[in-house]
């Protein structure tokens, strides 16, 4: 991550330098606008030149985010933001890599990649814009939807199964930086994202990002969120982190856990030419 070395004499970058002029397809008032702001602020604060950052995403309202930034982007297929982002980072470790998308993308169809990315611990940051709904397909239940939410025709009696707990899953799966943010204040969120990017290894930031169209009641999130998971400092011990999660109401904000498992990054030192390698097949 040479790009964020403090002593690089790069021109000072502003958040607006990271915002493209593509008009978002989002509904006016969608929480994702704040996430976009926060990401741009974070990149500016870290001083990462736009061409040295990449955002990979899946499919969904939230997954449209790459094109709204001025960094490199890969808007991939539904559920695959994390493998795409991992490939980018593993192939080009010097890049700053973010993955971004929705709760459906990340926890439903992308659930397997989510748990294995937590384990694999590639140095990247995953921002999930969690609105507890499939916005893009017009309002079905996602894994984080409450079991008794009956507003979707697909599950007219409610999904009927208990909601997916992103932070708990991430902790069990082995993630090393786990945080929750909210869209009300892009500056606070930007700060959280900065920490996540700075943390070596895989970082998860679950952002409560209201869908004002299909979950208008989420406007009330702002009354429910509160600081900390019971303690101002992140836990650095998994046992403690689990304990704090047991008391979490889903609206605690901040960093839950910071671990220090080694980052996964194969770093081969080339020592041979392909023809030297091929010599193994020679009959002598």
């Amino acid at each position: 991550m040479s790009a964020i070395d403090a002593d690089t004499a790069a021109p000072v970058l502003k958040a607006s330098d990271y915002k493209s002029d593509v008009k978002p397809v989002w509904c006016p008032g969608c929480g994702d606008f704040s996430v976009l702001s926060a990401i741009t602020k974070a990149l500016a604060e870290l001083g990462i030149p736009p061409h040295e950052a990449v955002v990979a995403s899946g499919i969904g309202c939230s997954s449209r985010i790459p094109a709204y930034t001025t960094v490199y982007g890969f808007h991939s297929v539904h559920g695959r933001a994390l493998p795409v982002a991992s490939g980018i980072k593993l192939a080009r470790p010097e890049l700053t890599v973010l993955a971004a998308g929705g709760d459906g993308d990340g926890f439903s169809i992308g659930g397997n990649h989510f748990i294995h990315a937590c384990r694999r611990n590639v140095d990247m940051t995953y921002i999930v814009m969690d609105n507890a709904v499939y916005g893009m397909t017009k309002g079905q239940a996602s894994p984080t939807t409450e079991p008794d939410w009956t507003a979707s025709k697909l599950t007219p009696d409610g999904p009927g199964i208990s909601a997916f707990q992103p932070l708990e899953m991430a902790l069990s799966a082995g993630a090393q930086f786990i945080a929750r943010g909210f869209t009300a204040n892009p500056n606070t969120l930007a700060h959280l994202i900065c920490q996540a990017i700075r943390h070596p290894g895989f970082s998860l930031v679950q952002v409560l990002s209201p869908c004002i169209t299909y979950r208008p009641e989420q406007r009330a999130y702002k009354n429910r969120v509160h600081q900390h998971f019971g303690h101002p400092e992140p836990a650095t011990d998994r046992r403690e982190a689990f304990a704090r999660l047991m008391d979490d109401d889903g609206f605690s904000l901040g960093v839950l856990y910071k671990g220090s498992q080694p980052v996964y990054q194969p770093a081969p030192a080339p020592s041979a030419t392909p023809e030297e390698v091929a010599a193994q097949f020679a009959i002598c």
């Binding site: 001025t70 695959r80 397997n112 390698v277």
Partner: protein
Amino acid sequence: MSNPSVSIALTGSGGAGVMTAGQMLLTAAARAGCYGLMSRSLGPQIRGGESAALLRLSTAPVDGPDDIFDLLLAFDWGNIDRFAAELPLNENSVVIYDPGQGPVPEVVREPGPRLVQVPLKEIAKGIPGGRENMVGLGLITTLIGLDAASLRQVIEERLGRKGAEAVDTSWQAVEAGAEAATVDGLPRLDQASPAAPGSRWQISGNDAVGLGALRGGVRFVAAYPITPATEILEWMAVNLPKVGGALVQCEDELASVCMALGGSYAGVPSMTATAGPGLALMTEAIGLGVASETPVVIANVMRGGPSTGIPTKSEQSDLNIACYGLHGDAPHIVTAPTSIADCVFTAQWTVYLAEALQCPAILLSDQAMGQAQAVIEKPAEVAFIGRRKVARPADLENYQRYRITADGISPVALPGMPGGQHTADGLEHAPSGTPSTQAAHHQEQLDKRRRKLDRFDYGDHWAIRAGDPEAELALITFGSLTGAARDAVTRCAEAGLPVRLIAPRLLLPVQVERLEAALAGATKLLIVEQNHEAQLRHLLAGHIRLPAVVDSLNRAGPLTIRPGEIVSALTTLAA
């Protein structure tokens, strides 16, 4: 002149050491200056169970199996019924078996081979620590006239680290076997002069694909194991780091193809390898590669299908999914190596095409090629230039990732290039990359993605051709059957029946003009393929004008199609 060769099957279960013996025989033959091919037939058990080493040795290059086995050496008869059909014999064949293992089963007896008893186990017991497979080796090398010194050398290399005693024991067993070699009338290898050191290779098709990809520039591989493709991945895991590359084991094939796309987007030529079930899981993301114009290579080693099918046996039945398995209008590249040796070239070329055309490319190998070992001429080092068209400074002014160009290829900016920022997208897009639902944008991008494949000059590499290019009778096949087809054409020529052989290396985009030109003047065509539905035939018929009379010789796996069958089919068709 048709290929004078000797074909040998070694069968036995569990501990008989059939595969080791086969490997040593192949290497010894190679040392002695011969060419050869060895494939394996395995039972469904994970370990132990019946197995057969199937060899063909010759002083001329061999690309495929012969019609029958000259020699079947059976250490035992365990489950022979299950795979006897894979071991064609006739009245000229010799079957050597251990009388202590019970009577010769009917399926072996039926074609009328000469039956010879050799008490392999007993002979081995006579030598303290001696093993029956070494006895068998001594027997065979003597019978076919293979230089004993080469075998000795192989044994020393293999067992040397176990000490001189181990080598001696084995050698005694070999000599005991040689003494028992009293059968006559078996074909013998011509006296070959050993090749210059390093001028020949012993390699499997799977390793060859790995090497070709590495030569082609692949430096990032995302992997999920599956039979019979795993060895490509294993070879790369060990060898890629040597040249500065890396392999990552993924949670599934959805992840592996997407990681490869990520690596490629980042600018590093990337690939994965799989077999039918994995390929099926990858098609959505391969479509993403098409739409976002991200190169990626998928080596697919075909096995018996559908579904889990017969994972350990060969078949050529993934042609349909490879060519047509993506949703939407998704032109891409499908290639097929025509022999184990050609795996090196074709894999390298496939990487080159994917990169040059910014497009996914599926390489279709198969189990018969992938898991077989061949002794071949060292493959030439080919230098393909013209890799991915990377954006130059001029391109980066008002950069448009999907700019409409005459050849359909748009310069690509790689992360790290200032001014080249864009979002690669699987949504249809304007030239800038911004998503668009407009008919005109869709049309121009669809045109461009097809145009880049159509306008590209694939040169002579698109197919292997052999035989008489003016013959009225044409033969089309692909992949691992090319060797048998080549043998058949040679035999037909010797019998006075000229045939032209075309084995396309490039299956998609279908080379309409080239194929039609290659077929011009042919009145009859035989299409040979190893699947049940005649997939190649329907692919070709769907795209090109075929000769008036077309016939198919197609059969699903695991029984390969042998030269003699092709000769018969050609002869019938010609009549």
